[in-house]
């Protein structure tokens, strides 16, 4: 047990005692290891930035936006409008379909979207000769006309739409419904009703057809019945008939086919 001793020479102790500092020999070496770790981790983080789903998504979004901008620009650049003045004009569409545009007619289409969809808009009157392919659609203010490959005419002026099919078949879609036109058929649409046009052309031509085909057409045009017409399915015929006059038509057939006909009470009989 010690007692309090004020005579202890603390000053002498402090003068004499030399304390050895613990020397951190590897201080610099460990510092370098720590800094190396930090730098390596930073590099890894930067690399990781390029590979995170978030960054990939962001890059994809940027690419999508760029593509959209490019496509929008291309769409506007490739928008095509053709307008005729006082003269008719023939044009060729990107799929090599021919169009004969009448005066004061406008056609609009896009060369970019044409690859996917043969689609154009029409104001005025034009005749189309469409090459076979996917659906070809003519959009008008009053209705849309769709075909696969055929020849037809569309005339849209003001409140009237006239469609006439020259070859194959044509589908006409308006607010009042859908009508299919076959060769030589024609319809009028006034915005309310689609009415078949019974006005036949001056001549209806046949080439490499059969007499049976002619009789069917005559029944259609003159509203008559041709008896035993099935017998003439192999009877070849090239020529024309005259829709405005049944007697002239019969006379023409007699002369071309060397046949005699009897016509009475809306019935035609081959003798």
């Amino acid at each position: 047990m010690h007692t309090k001793n004020e005579n202890i020479d603390i000053d002498a102790i402090l003068r004499d005692v030399r304390f050895k500092e613990a020397h951190f020999a590897r201080k610099e070496e460990i510092c370098i290891a720590i800094i190396d770790y930090i730098e390596a981790d930073k590099l890894k983080q930067q690399t990781r930035i390029f590979l995170t789903p978030k960054v990939i998504l962001r890059n994809l979004a940027a690419a999508a936006v760029a593509i959209m901008i490019f496509m929008t620009g291309a769409y506007w650049i490739l928008n095509t409008t053709v307008t005729t003045g006082s003269d008719a004009m023939a044009i060729v569409l990107p799929d090599n379909s021919d169009v004969m545009m009448q005066p004061n007619t406008t056609i609009k289409y896009n060369k970019l979207t044409w690859i996917l969809k043969r689609d154009l808009s029409l104001e005025g009157c034009a005749e189309f000769k469409v090459v076979t392919g996917n659906t070809f659609t003519v959009n008008t203010a009053l209705g849309d006309i769709s075909v696969l490959g055929t020849r037809f005419m569309v005339d849209v002026n003001g409140e009237e739409l006239i469609v006439e099919c020259y070859e194959g078949s044509v589908s006409v879609r308006t607010k009042s419904g859908v009508q299919i036109l076959t060769k030589d058929q024609k319809l009028h649409y006034d915005g309310e009703e689609m009415v078949p046009d019974m006005t036949w052309p001056e001549y209806v031509e046949f080439e490499d057809a059969t007499l049976y085909d002619v009789f069917i057409k005559m029944e259609d045009i003159f509203n008559v019945v041709v008896e035993d017409k099935d017998k003439y399915k192999n009877f070849e015929f090239s020529g024309f008939i005259v829709p405005r006059d049944i007697n002239e038509t019969i006379e023409l057939l007699s002369m071309i086919c060397d046949l005699d006909f009897e016509y009475s009470n809306n019935r035609i009989k081959v003798k």
């Binding site: 001793n5 603390i10 102790i13 030399r18 304390f19 720590i34 800094i35």
Partner: protein, 201 residues
Amino acid sequence: MLEEEIWKSIKAGSSDAFRDIYNKYADEMYRYGLKLTPNTETVEDSIQNVFINVYRLRNNISKPVSLKAYLLGALKNEIFLNCKQGQRRSEQKEDYDISDIAGKYDFNLDLDPESLLIASENNNIKLDLLQGAINKLPDRQKEAVYLRYYNNLSGQEIAEIMNINHQSVRSTLAKALNNLRDDLGVSEEILIPMLILYFTL
């Protein structure tokens, strides 16, 4: 540079900031670490781990009251963790708890033999008395005295390092000084400067 600015740079992951704080506190950490364990390799590894952990977890760590106290406290935990892992490896024991080691550590405050030799020419007895008195202190009192008088840390900083509250720090220091005063029979005015030099090991 203010601690506030240093902390911002640490948060930003600046290599320069880490180099600066390392150069500023590494020596003190090393000396403190060697009070907790005589194994220099463990202390060196622990110092390296402390700085790497600060870098890795910098975004989750809130600004400490004192950077120095934070680093010393982190070093203490890291050394205990290293010791625990070392013991587990050597004893193949799986159910160690860090508190098993934290509660039993030795706070080594042995004098340098060379300085003892020099001092013995004039005041051998008194220095021996001082050595003996310090040796008698419980480890936590040794640590509190060391941190207060050698590292000039505040009660709050010591509390953070020792993981005790401020009141306990004051109480531990008061007990330590009373014990030394009783053993040496000197007044506090003489004792404290003596301690400061003593702990400069």
